[in-house]
């Protein structure tokens, strides 16, 4: 910009000359254009505050923006709140009704149970899917990532009709609300390698009672005399085709040797957290989840006569119910 001259016609140029005679004019942009540019720059600042685009969230509060009078005090936060209020208003009658209902009653009510099916997906994915897998398909704890502890499933598949603690909707609710932690002692010091081998082969074949060792070594205390498990203590049914942990002979041996939640460094781990204590979910949300999980297709039809507590304690009747055809 040292010299503004133009040899051709006295028009001001930037002073830079290329290829002998090429130069840039320093013509001002039109006034309307400059006004537009300035107005846009001011609008950026205004909109930044209005929107607001200020990322300052501390202690659960945040700047909610300043709405301009002409815009009906519009801010993006306000628009979001209005929109969510509309959604909440649609859901409110259902949510209110859910509060006073038992899980079984929700299940029996076609409308409510449909509402739970539709609205429970996000709840399940956020809180349960991490261990149980999306849609309850289970997630495998195998491969290089879990080299430390390869144990088959991380958490049970929720779609089948095999339940450690029972598949009635109330029992599922209890599992969510109070958590579960089964226990199987490590047998590596109690049983010989040959005994473990025999037992593992019998269990793998689905006939644990075929070997006398099953009763002699006290397996029946937890898994029952018929090996079908007890819902009261969450012991696995060893006669069916669903495996909580790795179902190969090697895998079964591993489970027998080191137990489940036994404290042994090699133990299988199976812990369902207590969601009441965790404080993340409301009672209504846990009810929703219970119904949602039940409706995956493996839920056990409610036993109409017996009260809930009795079902949980009376292992025999629970097993019976479990073998009944699944509802829904």
């Amino acid at each position: 910009m040292s010299e503004n001259h133009n040899s051709a016609g006295g028009v001001p140029t930037t002073g830079h000359v290329w290829d002998d005679d090429l130069a840039d004019f320093t013509n001002q942009p039109p006034k309307w254009w400059m006004l537009g540019l300035t107005a846009s720059a001011i609008w950026v600042v205004v909109y930044f505050i209005m929107y607001p685009a200020i990322p300052l969230a501390t202690n659960g509060t945040f700047f909610k923006g300043v709405g301009l009078p002409g815009s009906g005090q519009w801010t993006a936060i306000k628009e979001l709140e209005t929109d969510t209020a509309v959604l909440d208003a649609v859901r409110k009658p259902y949510e209110d009704k859910l509060k006073g209902m038992e899980p079984a009653a929700i299940l029996a009510d076609a409308d409510m149970s449909e509402y739970v099916s539709r609205s429970g997906k996000v709840l399940f994915s956020d809180n349960c899917g991490g261990c149980h897998g999306q849609n309850g398909v289970g997630s495998m704890q195998t491969g290089a990532k879990f080299a430390q502890r390869e144990q088959g499933l991380m958490a049970p598949i929720l779609l089948d009709d095999d339940w450690l603690y029972g598949g009635e909707v109330e029992t599922i609710y209890e599992t969510i609300a109070e958590g579960r932690q089964g226990m199987m002692v490590a047998h590596k010091d109690i049983l010989s390698a040959a005994e473990i081998d025999t037992l593992a082969n019998a269990v793998a074949a689905g006939t644990p009672t075929a070997t006398p060792l099953f009763a002699e070594k006290g397996c029946t205390a937890c898994h029952g005399e018929d090996g079908k498990g007890m819902h009261a203590m969450g012991s696995a049914n060893l006669t069916d085709k669903v495996w909580r942990f790795d179902g190969s002979i090697e895998g079964i041996k591993q489970t027998i040797k080191y137990g489940v939640n036994s404290g042994d460094p090699e133990t299988r781990v199976a812990i369902m957290p207590n969601f009441t204590e965790a404080g993340k979910l409301s009672t209504t949300e846990m009810k929703k989840l219970a119904v949602y999980v039940y409706k995956f297709g493996g839920g056990t039809a409610p036993v109409v006569e017996a009260p809930v507590a009795a079902v949980a304690v009376d292992a025999a009747s629970a097993t019976e119910a479990a073998s009944a055809p699944a509802a829904q």
Binding site: A110, Q134, N135, V137, I157, L159, D160, D161, D162, N237, D240, K241, V242, K295, G297, G298, A322, P325, A326, A327, Q328
Partner: protein, 479 residues
Amino acid sequence: MSAQEQKPKQEVGQVTSLYNEHEEWSVNKGDKTIHAKRMPGRFRTFKNFTESLWLIFFLAPYIRWHGNQALLLDVNNRQFHFFNLTILPQDIWMVSLLLLLMAMTLFAATSVASRVFCGYFCFQSTWVDWFTWIEEKVEGNPNARVKLDTAPMSADKFRKKALKHTIWLLISVLTGISFTIWFEDAFVYWHNLMHFNLSIIEWATLIAFTFGTYLLAGFMREQVCMWLCPYCRIQAVMADSQTILPTYDEKRGEPRGRMRRGTAAANEAKLGDCIDCFQCVHVCPTGVDIREGQQIGCITCGLCIDACDSVMDKVGRPRGLIRYASLDEMSGKPVHKLYQHPRTWAYISIILLALGGIIYGLNHLGAMTMRVEPERQPLFVSMSDGSIQNKYNVKVLNKTGKDIQVVIRTENTLPGQVIVDADKKHLVHTGKETGFAVFIKVPRENLTSDVTKLRFNAVNVDDEKMKASYDSVFNGPKK
């Protein structure tokens, strides 16, 4: 100097001679209102008849059928009603076939006889025709109109102009109303309109259509055809050398010249049949001169043919100096018969396909439809007894007038297959689609393949004959 003067002449025949016609070239940019003369004739009568078909647009929404509007495109409730027929969104694919059908009909007609649509059916042409007819009734013939336009404002001019614009606006409002009542109940709409109780969308539609009609048909007129309408350009492409369109017979007409009394007979013999009376230009609604050949402004309405024929009758020469003729005919090539036009046949076959699809669709609307979506995550679940369970999300749409209950069955059966809760009745409300899950179990050993075809039926409990089917699959482990 002399060298400079000679330069343009040297360039005749060179590339730059292309630009010489620039001097004669004129474009109708709407700076002059075209006041076309109205003359009776064959094509005028035909045009009156075809334009009157638009009365359907105004009157049909008032037809009642079983207490409801017979023709109702009920977008709000997502239903189309045609007398007894109700079309729900699921059947809307037929609309695409209908659009195809209409487009191809336009193409076929254009390939045979050029812009038939523009000349005889187009709403723009029609409304403009009505508007100018009113203009003529109020303000008089074209000469009187030109005089009135240039005259200073007077009480008489104001009265005429006010009357004309009032009638134009009335037609425009009626157009807006008639458009809207195809989409909602006509009588309810009129009632609401009378009480000024329309929704924002209804007001916006009415105002947009009123002013759109008033502006396009009253003021822009042929400018719409020439500069706004895409069909004008599309249709021009459809015409080929076999297409017949209003053509000036140059060989017969040229050299044109006025008839003069007392001219030597020998001199007259040199002249062609065209007497250069400009009647064809005066009657043209878009103001083109057909003698310059086919052009974008020509909407092929045939009014110039009427005008020329009447003049030819008067001067005692044969009709048809301007007539529907093809380029082949004019350039002396053999004229093919209509059925020797492959392009038209291609259009007709597409029309027949679309028509076939629509007829099939209307015959297979069904009272009930179902869709079955197998669960994808997971594809199947192993149950405790070793059987494989599949989950299906079933949706049943009830197109009947009342609520129905359905049960789900399968048409073929896999060995040992169990539909969980097979007898469960599912309630489906009228006009609604209801979804529910269905579980099917099959013993693992009975499966011969990882994917087995399975056809589902939804059967109305009260009427076993009413059922819907859907083909799906049963998924199992890899074999």
